[in-house]
Symmetry: C2
Subunit: 152 residues, 2 copies
């Protein structure tokens, strides 16, 4: 964890931003909850546990900053709130998501499944791809099992 904090600190410094205590606390929350997809409000509440004096606006600004530096990705699953997701170290692209329409769970796929598709887009549409957002909606393994049980 310290290693990653350190890297992020350097990324900030390289653009002459500082890693203030508030920003560090925010980053720590994101690292600790790496598998979740927290909203700004969620992050705020968690950061408050470490640093009760922090303001909501600071959390928003920090997330915005991290987002610009591509340290986090801002996503929207259509429920009206933005969610923030740490990029894996060294990842060029945003990872994919599997959203279950039954239970609402969100699973991540880190493999880049889109290399071929991006080539097609590049060649056939002349569009120079920089990044992507891919979300599948459907039924997760667990809910499939439940449904089968229920109907048997």
């Amino acid at each position: 964890m310290e290693h990653r904090i350190d890297r992020i600190k350097k990324q900030l410094h390289s653009q002459s931003y500082k890693l203030t205590p508030q920003r560090e606390a925010t980053v720590r929350v994101l690292l600790e909850r790496e598998d979740d997809h927290l909203s700004a409000e969620d992050v705020y509440l968690l950061v408050k546990e470490k640093a009760p004096e922090i303001g909501l606006a600071t959390v928003y600004r920090t997330l915005e900053l991290l987002s610009e530096l591509k340290i986090v990705d801002k996503i929207n699953f259509g429920d009206g709130v933005s969610r923030y997701d740490l990029r894996k170290e060294g990842a060029k692209h945003f990872h994919h998501h599997l959203v279950c329409t039954e239970c609402g769970s969100v699973e991540e796929i880190e493999d880049d499944l889109l290399e071929d598709v991006e080539k097609i887009v590049q060649n056939e549409w002349g569009f120079q791809v920089k990044d992507h957002r891919l979300t599948f909606h459907g039924i997760c393994k667990q809910c499939q099992a439940v449904t089968m049980n229920a109907s048997s």
Copy 2:
């Protein structure tokens, strides 16, 4: 156009909803501006030209309803507003988008480029895919040309 209105009318009736004049006016706007990605506000202003007495809340409710019936898809390009996009007739899946980070233009791709990827997700993750959202961020043809001119 009348043909598609008629189909939508039937889809509504089949779930015992009515195609009220307000709903019809809204659908007409969506059909006329099929290539655009209108926000609820955009739709409201356009519908007002046809039916000045319509209320914003009705537009929201209509879009929500059309969205539930999968007649339109609700998307979010990360600018804080939801946008509404008509599905092509008979399309099982949502189409893809190319969002240009330079000029903000949005292009559509109707081909389903994800069939192979969906098979992988299905087989390797056991996730039963029902639909997807795929957006590429990058630089469109036009902006690539401009950039090349500017730098030469």
